[in-house]
Amino acid sequence: MKKAKRLAAIMFAATMALGTTAFNVHAEESGEPITITFWHSLGAETSGEVINEFIPMYEAEHPNIKIDMQSFQSDDYQTRQLKVAVSDGSQADVFHSYAAGYSQPFVDAGACLPLDDYFDADKTWDRLQDGVLEYMTYDGTVYGIPLTRWAGVLFCNTDLFEQYQVEYPETWDQLLEAVKVFRENGIVPMCVGAKEGWHACMYQNAFAMRTAGAEYCNKALVGEETLNTPEIVQSAQMMIDLKDAGAFDEGVLGLSSDEANMEFMMGNIPMYFSGSWSAAQVVSEDNQVAGKIKVMPLPTVEGGKGNTDFLGGATACYMINSKCEHPDEAVAFATALAEYQADKCYLLGDDITCWKYDVDESEVNPVLMEINKLSENSTGYVLAWDTFLVGSAIDKHYTLVQELLGGACTAEEFAEKTQAANVEALNLEK
């Protein structure tokens, strides 16, 4: 047995020794050229392709720089992989992240590089649109290089509206009337899949923005004000009213966002409140709704404090690992990519760019252009709550909206419990 132990020990030592030498050799060899690791979860579609096209161009321009890119599946990256990696600082030099509450723990843990000095040196500030850094600024310091911003609008299927001679809803009452008419004709009026909470939350969040105003929501979500107000109760009640009026599919709680989305794209549902990210899909010739889309702001609410506000904002961004060995090069690469990608994606209709753009607008996806125009007059923005909320409050919020749709909670309980969950999660974060 003793011999066996000794043998095992020697083997262990040998493995470790081999491991370290291998590592050293690698480090010495790299010498001059620089490798920048880069993670994103922007998929293989539009953004992913733009990135793939940019990297060889960038490497050709900077012969000493090599970009080591890894692309991840979005959900898994967002909920697990990135968080796990950040916990020991092993995330890539440049990594795709999300603003507001999502990256708060990263910044708190010192995992992200402060960017103000780089922005000063490069005059990045001047090239960015106004207000896009709001959610990437933590305690007055900027940590994110923004990519795109989004805005929530009501997508309407003009075919169905014309067929049943329904007025496009500009106010809440008109919306209820539209729901009624469509229901009478056996059509599911509004598209939502509440199996995953976020899809249903978009509606409630947007109603809350109408009733309470974007400015108030922004404050309340970070804990500076309470979410337990009559306005939030009203937003929850609007969800209940819509449900009771038959606005949603009967099986809404079991419907995934993808399934619901598909129904709209197949031309079966007249109204869909979604982000500008849907613009690319609705003009795609693969879908029956191509060319039959009218976008409009969410219906206004009488007496509401945010009738000209928009749900949305800049959330997608690149962040730099604070442990990065070559921060200058990493920031330069991330900035160049973000600028290129944002313009390109705007052109392709993926989302609205955060940068002052120089693209031929006649080539931009018409639906996205329309959304951009609508949102230019916006008086305020508030992100979807799940990007704002931290920790356990996110799931609690999802569950509560699902309960509203399932008739398992009242509007008052909703406001009260959401506030309680937010306070609890914020305290825990501190």
Partner: protein, 310 residues
């Protein structure tokens, strides 16, 4: 059976003396199992103890953990949703033992009795086991789809419109709807275990019984089932543990919804850890599931003890 006996005989007679010598050398045994043991300890045993450590801290996975005493345990055990999830997983376990295993046993006995096309049936019944759970979930999602699903379409076709359901969205029946694929998925697995165990019973025994006038049922219940009791025990353990830690199919079919009707401890653990970033409470749930599995394994082993002695 015969092949197996042959191998043992050859070993006993010392036809392969080297191997026999090697088997007697305890040092050699230790060295050979060491790599596997180290691996097992690193990937299975250590994480359990690590998780145990996490149950006593408040930690979001990123910043520094803070000692929290037993507050995580109190928090988890005070959650009604956690107990609901635990009950759900127990229901799944009960259904596996009392619905899945009897069906598997019945199929195994039928195959063992010898039907035409035995191999084909065996293969067909085993197919769900080798299909990935993701595909199974997708398949059943399509079956249950309220508008286009085969189930509702079929009910409509035979005039049973009123039986049509929002199978996965109705919180009253969602758990049953989720249970069915979970049971269906592993019927073939347990069937194969029972079948191979039954096959290994010497035909001399069953022949003798037949000569004594035993009928098919008597042979099945008085001879085959008692003789394969050790395999049944293994199957029950697998079924119960598998149910208690079931995750994949439920996660994809309903995600624990609607309104937590199909919530499972493992699903809660996942959301607690990865979306709520509360590793402390998530670890409590993990430890709970581990202990639950251990306790049930011991209980099952105990209740099967008398069969093993015989």
């Amino acid at each position: 059976m015969r092949e197996c006996a042959f191998t043992l005989d050859t070993l006993r007679n010392g036809v392969i003396p080297h191997m026999q010598k090697a088997l007697r050398d305890k040092k050699a045994i230790c060295i050979f199992i060491l790599p596997a043991l180290i691996w097992f300890v690193i990937i299975a045993v250590l994480p359990i103890f690590q998780s145990l450590g996490y149950t006593f801290v408040r930690w979001n996975g990123i910043t520094k953990p803070e000692f929290a005493g037993i507050s995580n345990y109190i928090e988890v055990f005070q959650k009604s949703i956690f107990w609901k999830a635990a009950v759900n997983s127990l229901l799944v376990a009960l259904a596996s033992v009392f619905i899945q295993l009897p069906i598997s046993m019945l199929l195994a006995l039928i195959l063992n009795y010898g039907v035409k096309g035995e191999t084909i049936y065996r293969t067909i019944l085993f197919i769900p086991v080798v299909i990935s759970s993701t595909i199974i979930a997708q398949l059943w999602m399509k079956i249950y789809h309220p508008n286009y699903g085969i189930l509702n379409t079929l009910l409509k076709a035979v005039g049973l419109d009123s039986w049509q359901q929002q199978w996965l969205s109705n919180y009253k029946i969602a758990l049953v709807a989720v249970l069915i694929p979970m049971i269906w998925q592993y019927i073939g697995y347990h069937m194969l275990l029972f079948y191979s165990a039954a096959k290994s019973i010497s035909s001399e025994i069953t022949d003798a019984a037949r000569i004594d006038g035993a009928n098919r049922w008597q042979i099945a219940f008085k001879i085959i089932i008692p003789l394969i009791a050790p395999m049944i025990e293994t199957s029950v353990i697998f079924a119960v543990i598998g149910s208690l830690k079931s995750f994949d199919v439920v996660y994809m079919l309903t995600g624990g919804g609607p309104l937590d009707a199909t919530q499972m401890p493992t699903l809660l653990m996942y959301t607690e850890a990865f979306s709520a970033s509360k590793y402390g409470t998530a670890s409590v749930m993990a430890i709970f599931v581990v202990l639950e599995c251990l306790v049930f394994t011991l209980l099952i082993q105990k209740s099967f003890k008398r069969y093993r002695r015989e």
